[in-house]
Assembly symmetry: D3
Homo-oligomer: 282 residues x 6
């Protein structure tokens, strides 16, 4: 895949600077300072030790720029590309000290984001035949939401709302207060701007008519069985986007997609995706 | 378990403020503002939906303090405690809006750190009978190293160095430059302060004598088979701490511990631990 | 008016801390330090010297908390309230030095935001009879967007998108690249998440059918005469929200609202609203 | 006009980074990412749609540097220049995405600062024949004081103190505490450094002798009629700088200048100046 | 001495947070966490081990607030007070861990600032009989200017300008460009605001007339002998403030003061003052 | 000089940006803006006015990069070099305004750090013949610990721990709580990671056996006479590193080194080192 729009640079740099501060602190890289001559130059390769979908390569490699202007990287793949185990992702040449000092920060970011992209892609492959989208959630790692949602896009996924600020989602906890789905949607519509969409979470089929009537843009059907989902798709009948969520796994994704829902959303692709194994070799 | 020393408050607050900024951005919580009266009060419970070891409960709950001074939480377990599925971890009472606005940040942090503690604890349980320690690595999520290493402690694990700055570790990439293990250790010893320890990574038994002779404090044996590890333990014979690493899993941990190594270190407990499922219910 | 949802505290505090740093710098308040005894206590009033709509009262008064814990304010009106000239908005009692040191920061913020609320309200009053909403734009002061958009809400207005990040708006400059309105809408729909809405700017009636057919959520009609606007309302016929913009003033607002558009958006309510005259008196 | 000393770069970059963070947040520029190819190049012009005095052109254009190193701007006028409606201020060539993403931040800053310069210049033109200076106040927008005071200089104005920290100004609120003008000046003189000047605000002619005798450097005459101002000028007789303030407008400025005061100070040139209309066209 | 105006709290907190981050980093206080029970309470005293003048006591003790809300300090002296060796400055009761973790930050700040106050006071005592002021310079430690200049005030000294921003000082390096003292003063007067003072550095008596004629507010006489200083005082004759600087030590200060200069300024009181020995005892 | 590893760039830049903000604040460099043409170019030299050991030259000169890209410095010595009075350390060519604006920040940093290096070197020269190391302490200036410890390395010294976070040191205040040296060491060993060393402070000879037996890595002998130190060296007999501290001066350093201790640590080389006199001349 190509063409995932790059992240704003200041978002990347903020994350990298915090990571470098964690790793270098006040004393810097004690080992490299002690055993590597300051003018030693190396030529190194970043490789994927397992197959997967890459995300965060350019952001991760930018760490060497922040450490030393004299490191020159060459990228061999692009974010969103699928790679086999053993693929060289990039070559990095320059100051050995800078490469050693930045190596862990680079790999931590690249492995984490590529893990998310790989997990996302595994589900996207299953549901794409049905025209169903795979969306993320707000279950992200504190401080990395922009990067993790970027990784989801690299994996062929689609972004759900980025925060509490950019879309309304009325969930069960809100209904404890607001009583009915219809009232809640109408209260929200009066309060928000005209470019903001409203999602309502329902966990019973009999809430759907009310949600549609109140003008919800998206109906999130939580934890229903496939036959109930099919019934929900019929009831909604194109009057709102229908999103399924709740414990969806690769084992159940295709079945759910086959019910005709527009979107499935999954928390685990961001909160529990295992890291893609990546390495930097001299 | 009790008595894990709490994190410095400003480290926690920095993480929480970044997370809140991600979630609230400029517009705040559109949904709660629209459907929840400003003076509505709720009583809620945070529960573990799966069994595991808790980490980050007090830090996660602090998010409500940052949002609104009028939310009062009560903790029912402490960081480091093992809990069964269904356990109430804390109750949180106060402004419904503040609770709804902070819910996701709270749960993201708690679930992430408890996932790390739970994974750590699963290995600690296996190797404790052998007196072997479980240590983490620097394979952490950018921006969360302090918190993730705290979670490892909550899981009964022990912290390896925190960064490039607080201990020397001479790895294969350094030896490309420094040629011999002995030379590298001696160069490091001259360069560093007298409170800093030196770890040397070896991947062949014939490097061990040289490392011991040069005065390494820790010998990290990478990717050796159990019988080679046993031989390494004999060769080192108490003259240095011996640490095993390289692809150690719950399936192999006990066998490795039985070889007599002092420490096993694992990256996946921080970089690939699945989240512990936690929820906040009204 | 009551019930405008308050801003997140950390957004307010960031603005106030920057403002205090501007005013106090390294030397602090030279005058108060020189002529006011440290234990001198005052009772002061914040008043509106002109009539208008209040915004930012609680945020502005919070400056005294940041300076000194011993100042206690009492608010007499709420954000969103309309007041006559001479109204006491709040009383502030406590350390004279703290009150003098924070006075200018408090009044600058309160006067600026209330100016925006007052300008907004003046247009809202004109178009409310037609059921038309008044929306803001992204023409805000750098660093104050969250607060200025809050002030618009206090004035009875509605918020347009907060940034480039939370809604799509396809403008003339994009069409230089994307060629047709229909293509642009379809490209955007494929790229964005399912909770994001699409606005298309048109400046000719013949673009409307294409925009509607492509599924735009909002059609922004730029700089058309009232009779063309009426025709646009007929063409769109409820299939999209219709927003009018382009040089709308109090003199023209009611006429435009009468055409039946759903929303009018105005830049000047944020970028050129004169300050409401407010003062703090001992 | 030429030769206004440029602002420190880190002050500019702080403002621009905050503004970009407001506009791009976590998701970036959704519209440009969706409809503009990443390698699309444009040639654009920034123009003044109304006549006025320019301020902030180089700072505003710097936003494109922060977004993308491959945008090259050419400035056609300098800060402080007066321009007619329709004047091309700068041309900007490079990445279409970067230009679209930075456009609003650039124009918001340029329009705001040029509005201040234009308002300032309108008063400077009226009072220059009398040799009177036009000074600003601390009634600035929170977070933008350095830039707004720079804009005043671009408009031919002069800066009053920048904060509470760099000059003493004894106002009516201080005299509630300090009782007499003379006492207050003497207390301040003892307390402050020898490079700091003292301004005293008087609103009655009978306070002037005391202020002069106590050694005030500047006497700020607040809200007096022109004939009283003339009398004040006679009384002060060159022993202090005389500054007039209080509701001065373009209608009254020349009359006040003709009384012989050295400086007139106006709050509205910073707090209520309407934006200069500027645009960026592809 | 009493009544030195306290520093703005956010200035203090910024310094303390940076210092705590240096000392606690990611792992926190390893020693206290290991050997001190979390609920252990101590009663401790902060004492001066040498005699001197105290500065920064309240700011330094505030570190315990930032670490733990349950530490309660009692101050026994005030900033600006002279104390004998052995004096108890404050008692601090509360969490032993918090006290141990903050001890070094507290003492580093208190010892550094009290060292500056003590050095300042030693010169002030020598020149006070002559009515001469002791002023600091901009030769301060990066990041601590506000606090160090506060310490000078605590020592009875007076602050010279705080930065390049709040007063004009024309030095020899400027005259390489501006040619004559008179031209430079006149250029500055036109450029700066009316509340800003101008200091001119002269190192020859024949420059004084020109400086006075051009209207300099302060004439800084650099490195002249006492008899030349006396002559300078005669030449200036009250038309400007006269400041002596250049290698002034306690040995030469009284002699210089006796020449009749108004101010002597010294760099070493901030850049080379030895720390006052302070300790915290359990 | 040989091979002092340079500091991480972001640590340097953080310090320089804070220093520039102190000096330029909102108004910038009033004097240079007024009297120096914007395009004026100068060639200047930075010289040592006294002999000493240089530290911080490259970091200090970096201030000109942060101010203006068009200043080009040439370094004539390296950090760690010893220089005579009058030595040219660097030449700096470029914008006169940038050089004047950055001069004080540059010299303050260079003079401060070189003062520390010079003091350190003076002790290192005395004890090197005995093979004894000179170590610093945590008695550093708040906010400058990384730079000051770097300066110690430039002076030939060795770094003690950087903070509470990277090594255990059990001091008298801890023993008030932990009762015995042996218990404290054992508690610490259980709690900390395997790469962390333990230092124990003793002030009586009879504590040494217990400390050695408990496995302390370093025994810090505080305030003992030389004959007691000799006895301590015998008792420890190579089983731990032995460090002497407590009021060590150049007058006593050689005598203490002759006792056979491995390390002497001194606070005054960071907290009370007089600045090295450096200057920038046009």
């Amino acid at each position: 895949m190509t063409g995932v729009a790059p992240l704003p640079r200041q978002e990347i740099d903020d994350v990298l600077r915090r990571a470098l501060a964690e790793d270098l602190a006040l004393a810097g890289d004690l080992t490299s300072s002690a055993v590597v001559p300051i003018d030693h130059i190396s030529s190194t390769r970043i490789t994927a030790r397992a197959g997967g979908t890459i995300a965060g390569l350019a952001p991760a490699i930018r760490v060497f720029d922040l450490l030393d202007g004299d490191v020159s990287p060459t990228l061999h793949v692009a974010d969103g590309d699928r790679v086999e185990a053993g693929t060289t992702l990039a070559t990095v040449q320059g100051s050995s000290r800078a490469i050693l000092s930045g190596e862990r920060t680079c790999l931590n970011l690249l492995g984490h984001l590529s893990g998310i992209a790989t997990s996302t892609r595994s589900v996207v492959d299953l549901v794409e035949p049905f025209g169903t989208r795979v969306a993320d959630t707000r279950k992200t790692t504190p401080g990395l939401r922009a990067l993790e949602k970027y990784a989801v896009r690299c994996g062929g996924g689609s972004n759900h709302r980025f925060g509490l600020n950019d879309a309304v989602m009325i969930k069960d906890n809100h209904l404890v207060v607001a009583k009915t789905v219809g009232d809640a949607v109408r209260m929200a519509r009066r309060s928000i701007g005209h470019t903001v969409s409203i999602t309502v979470e329902v966990d019973r089929l009999d809430q759907i008519d009310e949600a549609v009537a109140a003008g919800a843009d998206v109906i999130l059907v939580d934890n229903l069985r496939d036959d109930d989902l099919r019934r929900a798709v019929e009831l909604i009948d194109g009057q709102a986007i229908i999103e399924a969520s709740g414990g969806i796994t690769p084992a159940t994704a295709a079945g759910i997609a086959a019910t005709g829902v527009d979107v499935i959303s999954l928390g685990w692709i961001t909160h529990s995706a295992p890291r893609l194994d990546v390495a930097l070799d001299f």
